[in-house]
């Protein structure tokens, strides 16, 4: 079974630029998550989708972050404009009900 796929693995951008991350969840997983993991901290949920609808985006900085999950499969997370404090690893994950949450390898973003 293929895991959660993310791209790119690494990205370096200047502040005020925009960036987008892509995620393809495990086949058949209706729930998709984006987490932000700042160095030395545990992952923090940014947004949770159930199929193509948003379940929870309470911790998503909506003035600069946006996410979509068209057709209930792939998802894209965008940051525009980026700030220095956005430097982190962005993890995509997917799940089915109580089967556990499975994570991709993440995208390491460095904002300079």
């Amino acid at each position: 079974e293929a895991g959660v796929a993310q791209s790119p693995r690494y990205k370096i951008i200047e502040k005020r630029q925009s960036v987008a991350f892509w995620c393809n969840p495990i086949s058949g997983h209706a729930t998709l998550y984006w987490y932000q993991q700042i160095l030395g901290q545990g992952p923090k949920l940014l947004i949770q989708f159930q199929n193509n609808g948003v379940v929870d985006d309470s911790q998503l900085p909506k003035d600069r972050f946006s996410a979509e999950r068209l057709k209930g499969v792939d998802s894209t997370l965008k940051i525009q404009p980026a700030k220095l404090e956005d430097s982190a690893v962005y993890l995509c994950a997917s799940s089915i009900r109580t089967g556990g949450v499975f994570f991709g390898q993440g995208t390491r973003l460095t904002v300079v």
Binding site: Q6, T31, G42, V55, T98, F103, R108
Partner: protein, 115 residues
């Protein structure tokens, strides 16, 4: 609201020694509990999970954890560690709402295994 406390930020241990990584949680509803491991520059890998039933849960790589409802704890243990167990370990709690899990993570414990 839920929260997870991992009491130790770092745990140094010699190879072949036993180890326990501590995790306490807080929640007003029934929860599911998880341990994840993160190797350098990798995503999180599920070690084990407690959903219901036996309070002693066995996972991959020889790890196990015990759910203690009265002490609101879910400590991770391994009787004999290996160098390759060096990694960051995260405890997480989920408030299953009937549709999907939403994980809240602790701050992590760095397990450093040396010879």
């Amino acid at each position: 609201a839920q929260s997870v406390t991992q009491l130790d930020s770092q745990v140094p241990v010699f190879e072949e020694a036993p180890v326990e990584l501590r995790c306490n949680y807080s929640s007003s509803v029934s929860v599911y509990l998880f341990w994840y491991v993160q190797y350098p520059n990798q995503g999180l890998q599920l070690l084990l999970k407690y959903l219901s039933g036996s309070t002693l849960v066995k996972g991959i790589n020889g790890f196990e954890a015990e759910f203690n409802k009265s002490q609101t704890s879910f400590h991770l243990r391994k009787p004999s560690v290996h160098i390759s167990d060096t990694a960051e370990y995260f405890c997480a709690v989920s408030d299953y709402t009937g549709t999907a899990s939403k994980l809240t993570f602790g701050t992590g414990t760095r397990l450093q295994v040396t010879l």
